[in-house]
């Protein structure tokens, strides 16, 4: 009996805490809603937003110059016809995947730790998809004719090539953007209504009032909300896999050595989630410090995200290993040359080793508790991983294309300043959108955090409730 009780106690204590400090429903609303409503906009916000907004001007100038001059301003040329624009597209779209994974898959898996990070992870998804979408859109050269990509019975009698993964991309990414937006917005409605009720400023009242769509929090509203949210989660789940699988098919359905590998779909999906979690960590580590949200985004959240990053990173490294092995095992001249060229024989060999350093070596530190538990190291590793995932696409796309089959058609690639400014510009756009989001919407789901409180579980089913009780007993004993 004694032992059983003791076992039970240890078990409870083992569960990491998803919410810290002494909170009631009211303090949760105050703390999170207060960021948008009560606090004066901090000076730091203006600086951050200002920097982002300035960089957006770089993007605007680039787009203007691009539209006046044509897509020739980018460095893409034979033999490297796909280059930095598609690298950036894949990089951004990959980052979005963590948001969808956190909000949809972890919801279906009943993972409570998603609750305080889902909101801004979803926002990050939307902003990342927006940045990603700019690249293919502008690279068409005439974005005002982008609707030609959709299959509709036009007077020109033209249809898209349905066998091309590029057209699947159009469907996949537009579906992804739509569903992510809906999911994010539906989740926001109850919180926007909270803000509406608490807002003092007239304009805020009107704006939140419109956005909350008449939410009154009645039982029927909640009932419909729960159904809608679960359905959207179900719809989003396949999207986590499908979008990046199709992005990987852009490359792998071709015959280019280094692109044509059957492992590409799962390997790209893992890479996307890997990069996405790195970005979530990059955003939430400063956020929880600046806005004093450590009670809601606890160390346990960071540890979990570190673990997911390690696991997905290892899948990516497995992909590298299989590429190397099969490059040799295929016994095909071109495949073997591709490996040789990629790893040590070609002019871009150091990109490969930099990539291994960033994605392969840096994550090994996450095996150790010391690094997983340190916000500082998680932040550093996340930055390194973000660079690494960009390099990965560089290695796959450019190193494979610049020396493909015929030595007579080999060539080097170098980006132009417009390639660089466009990428930097989207970083600015992302930053700007993140700052606007933090200022005007609740960064953490207020009502979902409330469900984590012991008061929300009066029947005693709550793990956190029992946990608290036992923690008290423990302290009494000692």
């Amino acid at each position: 009996m004694q032992d059983a009780q003791k076992l039970k106690t240890t078990e409870r204590r083992l569960r990491p805490k998803m919410i810290e400090g002494e909170h009631t429903f009211g303090t949760v609303s105050d703390r999170i809603g207060g960021i948008t409503l009560k606090r004066r906009t901090p000076f730091g916000w203006f600086i951050g937003f200002g920097i982002g907004f300035l960089i957006v001007q770089v993007l605007m100038s680039t787009i203007t110059y691009l539209l006046f001059t044509g897509v020739g301003v980018f460095g893409n040329n034979q033999p490297v016809g796909w280059a930095v624009p598609i690298i950036n597209f894949v990089w951004w779209i990959g980052i979005g995947h963590a948001g969808t994974l956190i909000s949809a898959i972890l919801l279906l898996l009943n993972q409570k730790w998603r609750t305080s990070i889902n909101r801004f992870a979803e926002a990050m998804t939307l902003f990342a998809v927006a940045c990603a979408g700019l690249f293919p859109l502008l690279h068409t050269g005439r974005p005002w004719l982008a609707y030609w990509m959709f299959p509709y019975p036009s007077t020109m009698g033209m249809w898209p090539q349905f066998r091309s993964p590029l057209i699947w991309d159009v469907f996949a990414v537009s579906t992804y953007a739509t569903v992510s937006l809906l999911f994010w917005y539906v989740g926001l409605i109850p919180d926007i209504a909270t803000l509406r009720d608490r807002a003092k400023n007239k304009y805020f009242k009107i704006a939140y009032g419109l956005l909350s769509m008449g939410w009154r929090g009645s039982a029927r509203h909640w009932h419909r909300y729960e159904i809608a949210y679960l359905l959207l989660a179900g719809l989003s789940t396949p999207l986590v896999l499908s979008v990046h699988s199709i992005v990987s098919l852009d490359f792998s359905v071709s015959q280019v050595p280094g692109w044509h590998a059957t492992i590409f779909p799962p390997y790209f999906v893992a890479g996307a989630i890997f990069a996405g979690f790195a970005m979530v960590l990059i955003l939430c580590i400063p956020l929880r410090v600046w806005y004093n949200l450590k009670d809601f985004i606890t160390d346990a959240h960071l540890i979990y995200m570190g673990k997911v990053m390690l696991a997905t990173g290892l899948i990516v490294v497995y992909g590298y290993a299989m590429e190397l092995f099969f490059g040799w095992y295929s016994a095909t001249e071109y495949e073997r040359f591709m490996i040789y060229n990629r790893v040590w024989g070609g002019p871009y060999w150091w990109f490969y080793w930099l990539l291994i350093l960033c994605n392969g070596v840096s994550i090994q530190f996450l095996w150790f508790k010391r690094f997983r538990e340190s916000a500082f190291w998680l932040f550093i590793i996340s930055l390194i991983v973000s660079v690494g995932m960009w390099l990965e696409r560089f290695v796959i796309i450019i190193t494979s294309l610049h020396r493909d089959f015929l030595p007579s058609s080999w060539g080097m690639y170098s980006p132009t300043m417009w390639d660089v400014s466009m990428f930097v510009g989207t970083l600015g756009l992302f930053l700007t959108l993140v700052f606007l989001f933090v200022r005007f919407l609740p960064v953490i789901s207020i009502f979902e955090i409330r469900t984590l409180l012991p008061q929300a579980n009066v029947h005693g089913h709550s793990e956190d409730f029992e946990e608290n009780v036992i923690d008290v007993q423990d302290t009494e004993k000692t």
């Binding site: 009996m1 032992d3 059983a4 003791k6 076992l7 039970k8 240890t10 078990e11 083992l14 066998r163 896999l241 699988s245 098919l249 792998s252 359905v253 071709s254 015959q255 044509h260 590998a261 059957t262 492992i263 590409f264 779909p265 799962p266 290892l314 497995y318 290993a321 299989m322 590429e323 099969f326 095992y329 295929s330 016994a331 095909t332 095996w367």
Partner: protein
């Protein structure tokens, strides 16, 4: 409370299954052995059929080791109730090695590359495709798996013996810590074993997703097998006090996920090879795109994916042990068909490296050998299952896991 309860496996029941398995497996194995030894012209077929049975049943055992590692990593109630089944499956590695011996000694009768020393592509793949390296690697795989299984099982046994809650907790934590890096090695070893044992049947062909296909496929095989075993035990003591509908629900979800993963991996492989349309890769599918092989391929799409997918979406079905078990056995049969689809059409040495149509290649031994291998494997498995209580009695999460099963 929990420690005073008896959680031993129902010996009488399991012993009956055990005898039956040994009877069937023993007799049929002797039949295959006689054919292989006394009829040289049937030897290739007998060994190929044996390989089919070995990959299928060995895959369940090795998949069990993978799930054992996985559940220590993820935690969760399903992991606690499935742990002893997975442990027993992982302790079948010795018999899996014994069952592997015919494949190892019959290597020159099964693998065409052993006869192609002058083939330029096989030459380029030296030393990977050489008999001695192939055997050395196989032994290495078994050693690595063996170490993983031995340590996890030893800690789990020590946990059963201990009276101290802190020690029990420490053992679970140790196993979890060990499982992280071990998972990496496990997936790598499975990948290369799958390449060695199945992919090299077609010595020219390659596909980078192959390892993942087997890592996921063997895990699916094990989950299906475990559901069948748990359902059979669920109305007898002690499991009737432990298993709840929510446990089956959870494992059913994992089955559904893996059925989808199987389809996802296979479709990725097919689509990429079809689109690339390179002769060295399409050859593998072209063989399987003819005659009855094509029918089997299409059958797999419908019955290894579409049908189980639709059925397993149903919440109520997943919560009923018996219904889920029927579905699990159905998928297991299709797993065997899938392995047959991978192994059967590969080039034959007796036919000078030609692939043969289903009609000319299908043999009665393709049905008998899986039963022969399976009987012996199951006999060993049930023996191992009897050795320990059916749940990890001192695991600190046990009570929570039992409680979880009763929820909704």
């Amino acid at each position: 409370m929990i420690r005073n309860t008896n959680f031993d496996a129902p010996a009488e029941q399991i012993n009956r299954w055990r005898t039956l398995a040994l009877g069937i497996g023993g007799i049929l194995s002797i039949v295959i052995l006689i054919v292989a030894l006394l009829f040289p012209e049937q030897r290739e077929q007998a060994l190929r059929s044996w390989l089919l049975g070995f990959i299928f049943w060995g895959g369940i055992g090795i998949g069990g080791l993978g799930v054992l590692i996985l559940q220590y990593l993820t935690g969760g109630a399903w992991g606690i109730v499935i742990r002893r089944v997975a442990e027993a499956a992982s302790r079948t590695l010795p018999i899996i090695f014994v069952l592997f011996l015919p494949v190892m000694f019959g290597i020159t009768y099964i693998y065409e590359w052993t006869h192609l020393p002058n083939d330029p592509i096989v030459q380029l793949k030296q030393p990977y495709l050489s008999v001695q390296w192939w055997i050395i690697r196989a032994v290495l795989y078994f050693i690595l798996w063996g170490v993983m299984a031995y340590l996890l099982n030893r800690w789990s046994a020590a946990q059963d013996q201990t009276n101290d809650a802190d020690t029990a907790l420490k053992l679970t934590n140790d196993a979890s810590k060990f499982s992280g890096p071990t998972m990496v090695f496990y997936v790598l070893v499975v990948s290369f074993a799958a390449i060695d044992w199945v992919m090299t049947l077609d010595p020219h062909w390659y596909s980078t997703i192959w390892g993942l296909l087997f890592a996921a496929g063997w895990a699916l095989s094990f989950f299906c097998f475990a559901v069948a075993i748990l359902a059979a035990l669920s109305d007898k003591a002690p499991m009737n006090r432990i298993l709840g509908s929510r446990h089956f629900h959870d494992i059913g979800k994992l089955m559904l996920a893996l059925v989808m993963v199987w389809a996802y991996f296979n479709f990725s492989q097919f689509l990429i090879i079809w689109s690339g349309n390179l002769p060295e890769e399409t050859k593998w599918y072209l063989t399987r795109w003819e005659g009855t092989w094509k029918v089997i391929g299409i059958l797999l799409i419908f019955f290894h994916f579409a049908f189980p997918f639709l059925v397993l979406l149903n919440r109520d079905l997943k919560r009923k042990a018996k219904w889920l078990a029927i579905m699990a056995i159905f998928i297991l049969v299709l797993r065997l068909v899938d392995m047959y689809y991978l192994i059967g059409p590969s080039p034959r040495i007796g036919m000078n490296g030609q692939e043969v149509d289903f009609i000319n290649s299908f043999s009665w031994m393709d049905i008998v050998a899986p039963f022969a291998v399976g009987g012996i494997w199951l006999w060993w498995f049930f023996g191992e299952l009897l050795k320990r209580p059916l749940v990890p009695i001192n695991d600190p999460y046990l009570e929570g896991a039992i409680e979880h099963g009763k929820g909704h």
